[in-house]
């Protein structure tokens, strides 16, 4: 008796239903954590000087976010509501320590470059925000999709900003010179013609301006995103 009742109550949702797909696609553009929700800005300013750093930061955030959302979602009915924020913090902190240990052991150069910023993933508002707003009240699979969507939404903005800043600030992509050699006395390529790197691109304020320009472009293309005042 009871089994048939349950079947009627819960028709199985297809794995990639429209609702689930939106969980991934929304945060990529119309509900992007950085450009629309303006979360996780601190790290977007701090580690977007080089593409390589931004890439590894993104990988770390994707890992922490997916496993964090999954764990919180699995435990959502067990977590005592009075200490739920602390429990979420413990989960993020542990995952970040795991990431940090692995970076130190397997890619020490990257670990040196990211230095304190890996630890600061713990304070990335996007992660705590998704735990509290989504994973605490949804099933594991949609939670994973939500995590992937938000983490990639964060990642692509991060890498894009880093790309712009590295190309115009240091004339390089992933550490490889693209405009030629700019060592004093032995200039080649564009530098021999008098091209100069824009040193301001390397400074943190330019990250804010680049993010601002991305937000501007995005809102010009989609007027629905412009808030009414």
């Amino acid at each position: 008796m009871s089994t048939t009742e349950e079947k009627v109550k819960a028709p199985k949702e297809p794995l990639f239903s429209k609702k689930n797909k939106r969980l991934i696609t929304d945060p990529l553009s119309d509900n992007n954590p950085i450009t629309i929700q303006v979360l996780g800005i601190c790290s977007a300013l701090a580690i977007t000087v080089q593409v390589e750093q931004a890439f590894w930061m993104s990988v770390s955030v994707i890992f922490v976010m997916v496993f964090g959302n999954l764990i919180v979602s699995l435990l959502r009915n067990l977590i005592p509501s009075r200490v739920r924020i602390i429990v979420q913090l413990v989960i993020v902190a542990s995952l970040v320590i795991i990431v940090n240990e692995c970076l130190q052991a397997f890619v020490p150069d990257v670990s040196e470059k990211l230095s304190v910023f890996v630890g600061l993933i713990i304070t990335n508002c996007i992660i705590m925000g998704r735990f509290e707003a989504f994973a605490m009240s949804n099933k594991p699979f949609p939670s994973i999709l939500d995590a992937v969507g938000n983490a990639i939404g964060y990642a692509w903005i991060l890498v894009l900003v880093a790309l712009i800043r590295e190309v115009f600030g240091s004339g390089k992509i992933w550490g490889a010179a693209i405009f030629g050699n700019n060592l004093p006395g032995e200039e080649s390529g564009l530098y021999a013609l008098g091209y100069v790197n824009n040193n301001m691109m390397i400074l943190p304020p330019m990250a804010l301006i680049v993010v601002g320009v991305i937000i501007w472009i995005q809102r010009t293309r989609n007027k629905d995103l412009v808030e009414e005042h």
Binding site: L78, I79, P80, S81, R82, V83, I86, V87, V90, S94, I97, I98, E101, C102, Q104, A105, F106, P108, D109, S115, V116
Partner: protein, 239 residues
């Protein structure tokens, strides 16, 4: 049995179990990865020693190049006396000078000072580790001396958490290279090298500091002078 999830008992039990599980996972991971992390730190140290010699190396060839250039290493005391028959952890390479510097229970007179003797392009060079304090935390590095025991031929500095763009610039080659050709001794007596703010770094015994990184620059000055004084005691006796 129905559990009251809002009760104190449940909250405490959940928290305790969570902390134990997380603790076990993290500590076993840390212990498991320790050998790899230790190897990385050792290669990094070799790379820093080579960098003071002016030899570029990567994590891959760091150990091989270290074997190639470093011919001998030994340890001296604070009074400049060669130490022999030291236990394994106090040998030149494994001696942790940073830990020794931090450890308040070790008196300054009891500190040990390693010397790495290198051979490059037919001449003998001495690579000497230095440790000091920056603005936010420890700074350290290596200074390479020529075989006249007084001319600096290269340095490499590093830091734990100095401000990027300001104090952290001490680890950049433009700053490290300012020490090249300075002398730690004149006419056979130890002479300090000062880090200056007024742009007079081109004069003898003077090095330009970093704008906005004064405390870190002064930390480098103190670190190099204090340590070089000890080493010069040894070198002046054993010329």
């Amino acid at each position: 049995m129905k559990v009251n999830k809002d009760g104190n008992g449940y909250t405490f039990a959940f928290s305790i179990i969570l902390v134990i599980v997380v603790g076990v996972i993290l500590s076993s991971l840390s212990i498991g990865l320790k050998p790899l992390k230790k190897a990385n730190v050792e290669v990094k140290k070799k790379m820093s020693i080579l960098s003071a010699l002016g030899v570029e190396s990567t994590r891959k060839d760091g150990s091989d190049k270290y074997e190639k250039y470093i011919k001998d290493s030994y340890v001296i005391s604070h009074n400049g006396v060669l130490q022999e028959n030291l236990p394994e952890e106090k040998q030149a390479f494994s001696l942790d000078v940073q830990k020794q510097f931090r450890d308040k229970t070790i008196k300054v007179e009891d500190r040990l000072y390693p010397i790495f003797e290198a051979e490059k392009d037919g001449t003998t060079l001495f690579v000497l580790p230095v440790v000091g304090k920056g603005l936010w935390g420890p700074i350290w590095g290596f200074v390479a001396l020529a075989d006249d025991y007084e001319t600096i031929v290269g340095t490499s500095f590093d830091h734990k958490g100095e401000t990027p763009g300001l104090g952290a610039e001490i680890a950049q080659s433009f700053f490290e290279d300012r020490y090249i050709d300075e002398k730690i001794a004149i006419n056979g007596s130890f002479t300090p090298i000062s880090v200056v703010q007024n742009g007079s770094g081109f004069e003898d015994q003077k090095v330009d500091g970093i704008t906005g990184g004064t405390i870190t620059s002064k930390g480098v000055e103190k670190m190099v002078n204090e340590t070089m004084e000890v080493y010069y005691k040894y070198f002046s006796k054993n010329k």
